[in-house]
């Protein structure tokens, strides 16, 4: 397995300590993000997902515990914080609401400019980022506010990708988009992953998306890591997931119900393809019990 690039050690975060609003959002979280992997973080609303990812580039400081980038504490100094912000890119929920510049080009250039790169390098990165996210050349001179919702979302993601992060963290990147918009955004992210080898962390509560693309998944529940492993392992615990208020992929549900009816479905099933092959095996091998 690849070596870890970003790690949290006993990460705990408490909001408003010492007031009636005190809330422990994370408790002893030990998370590992490995080089070049796609990690899915899932959990229901309020499970601590958003708090966790904001620790990954030092936007919030841990109450206790550490976050390590290549073994170095990211909260150690001002320069280490600046470094982690450019190496770990964070795309928030509904990132299109953070667009502010007059043109798409300038908005995408905001990140690289803050990294104090030279003009030629900024230009190269803006065009690369636009290409990764499918933002057409002619859109670059338009005002971001004239674009459609899906286009705005892609521009906003390009704004983070332009910093060329080695870890790209996205919080619900497909929320509120129509199915074709969702597929496109996912394709954009995967293109960036393939061409740069960056690690991708996708936070979602949609199991289907996590299952389809993630190499590894982490399930958060009440601020703690409840499960961790490959999608195939995770989805063998369908009942537990449902108890945590998470939906399971439709095919996992179908498989579970078939099993309850006495159909002998083998292994972990969470995509249509897996279901088909599991059923094919039934045809070839055994009889219905």
């Amino acid at each position: 397995m690849n070596e870890p690039i970003l790690k949290t050690e006993n990460l705990t975060h408490v909001y408003s300590p010492g007031t009636p609003f005190e809330l422990t959002a994370l408790r002893n979280v030990n998370l590992e993000i490995r080089k070049g992997e796609i990690l899915g973080i899932i959990g229901h609303t309020g499970s601590g997902k958003s708090t966790l990812i904001q620790h990954l580039n030092a936007l919030i400081k841990p109450t206790s515990g550490r976050v390590l980038l290549d073994g170095q504490d990211i909260n150690a100094s001002k320069s280490s914080i600046r470094l982690v912000r450019s190496r770990v890119g964070l795309v928030f929920q509904y990132p299109e609401y953070q667009l502010f510049e007059e043109t798409v080009y300038k908005d995408i250039a905001f990140g690289p400019k803050n990294m104090k790169l030279d003009a030629a390098e900024i230009d190269r990165r803006v065009r690369d980022a636009a290409r990764f996210t499918g933002v057409e050349e002619e859109l670059l001179d338009r005002a971001p506010f004239d674009l459609s919702g899906g286009q705005k979302r892609r521009v906003a993601i390009a704004g983070v990708i332009a910093m060329m992060p080695e870890v790209l963290v996205l919080d619900e990147p497909m929320a509120g988009l129509d199915p074709s918009g969702r597929t496109e955004i996912m394709e954009n992210i995967l293109t960036y992953h393939r061409e740069t080898g960056a690690a991708i962390v996708i936070v979602t509560h949609s199991m289907e998306e996590a299952a389809r693309h993630a190499d590894r998944m982490v399930v958060l529940n009440h601020g703690e890591i409840a499960m961790e492993g490959a999608p195939a392992e995770i989805f063998t615990h369908g009942d537990e997931l449902r108890r945590m208020g998470l939906d399971t992929p439709v095919m996992t549900d179908v498989a579970d119900r078939l099993r309850a009816l006495g159909v002998n479905i083998q292994g972990s099933v969470y995509t249509v393809e897996q279901m088909v092959s599991a059923l094919m095996e039934l045809e070839g091998g055994g009889r219905r019990a």
Partner: protein, 267 residues
């Protein structure tokens, strides 16, 4: 970081102070402030302090929350005290160049400083123990008679409650946008004044846009539910003054009366 702003924050609880009618609490604050401003002597201040302290004790609001809220007025308190220190009449007990400090000056400085602190703390007692909704409802009822003078009391109260309701939302939104821009390497605390002002742009533009969008959506949602101003609107929970409200108001009136009496006889 922005979440630490305590301006107008409400601390839920179920003490007597919390359950008083908001009208009572607003009137009490007015009576208390009047008493505080008529007080001229140590004794008058002590009276107000005893009243404030017992209100704080009964409401179970932590002293730390009270002190934290004082932070923004520290400068005003110090400035007022220092100015009063040098402007006291009477025999100077310390003199240097044009500065002279008299016994009266010291007394005035201490009293004025405590007056501001007690004033702010008194109003905290109102906002800390009354939810914004109750507060505006109370104000609306108290200002009700002004409707006869064609003052749009209900509309003003509605605007106020919406503004109060949106403060935390806006703070949250600002926090979110700041985080998003920081994640793109923006820095808000470096550079000179002009650079700092420029650095606010990536926050202000999205914030304005979302405020307009939010206002639009809210207006639509209100219209969709047939909101058309205050006429014939009824309340789910109608406020009614209880015996304890009259008791409290009597205490308030006595406080003011005592304070005026003390000032009159020159104590």
């Amino acid at each position: 970081m922005l979440k630490d702003v305590t301006l107008g924050q409400y601390f839920p609880g179920d003490t007597v102070v919390h359950s008083l009618d908001p009208r009572t609490k607003i009137l009490m604050v007015i009576l208390y402030i009047a008493a505080l401003f008529t007080a001229k002597s140590w004794l008058g201040y002590a009276l107000c302090l005893v009243f404030l302290a017992s209100a704080v004790a009964v409401s179970k609001i932590r002293l730390s929350a009270m002190l934290k809220g004082l932070k923004p007025v520290v400068f005003v308190v110090i400035l007022t005290s220092v100015l009063n220190l040098f402007y006291g009449a009477g025999e100077p007990i310390f003199q240097w160049w044009i500065f002279k400090i008299s016994r009266e000056g010291i007394k005035a400085a201490v009293l004025m400083g405590s007056r501001i602190i007690m004033l702010v703390m008194g109003t905290f007692m109102l906002t800390y123990t009354t939810s914004p909704i109750m507060l505006t409802y109370g104000l609306e009822l108290l200002l009700g008679p002004l409707k006869k003078l064609k003052v749009p009391v209900h509309e003003l109260a509605m605007m106020m409650s919406m503004a109060l309701r949106l403060i935390p939302t806006l703070i949250e939104e600002t926090d979110k946008i700041m985080s998003a821009q920081k994640a793109r390497g923006a820095e808000f605390d470096t550079g000179n004044l002009i650079e700092k002002a420029k650095a606010m742009l990536p926050i202000l533009v999205p914030l304005f846009l979302s405020s307009f969008r939010r206002a639009d959506e809210l207006a639509t949602a209100m219209e969709a539910r047939c909101y058309h101003g205050g006429e014939n609107r009824t309340r789910l929970n109608v406020l009614k003054l209880a015996p304890r409200d009259f008791t409290t108001l009597t205490v308030g009136a006595l406080l003011l009366a005592a304070s005026i009496a003390l000032a009159r006889i020159g104590l």
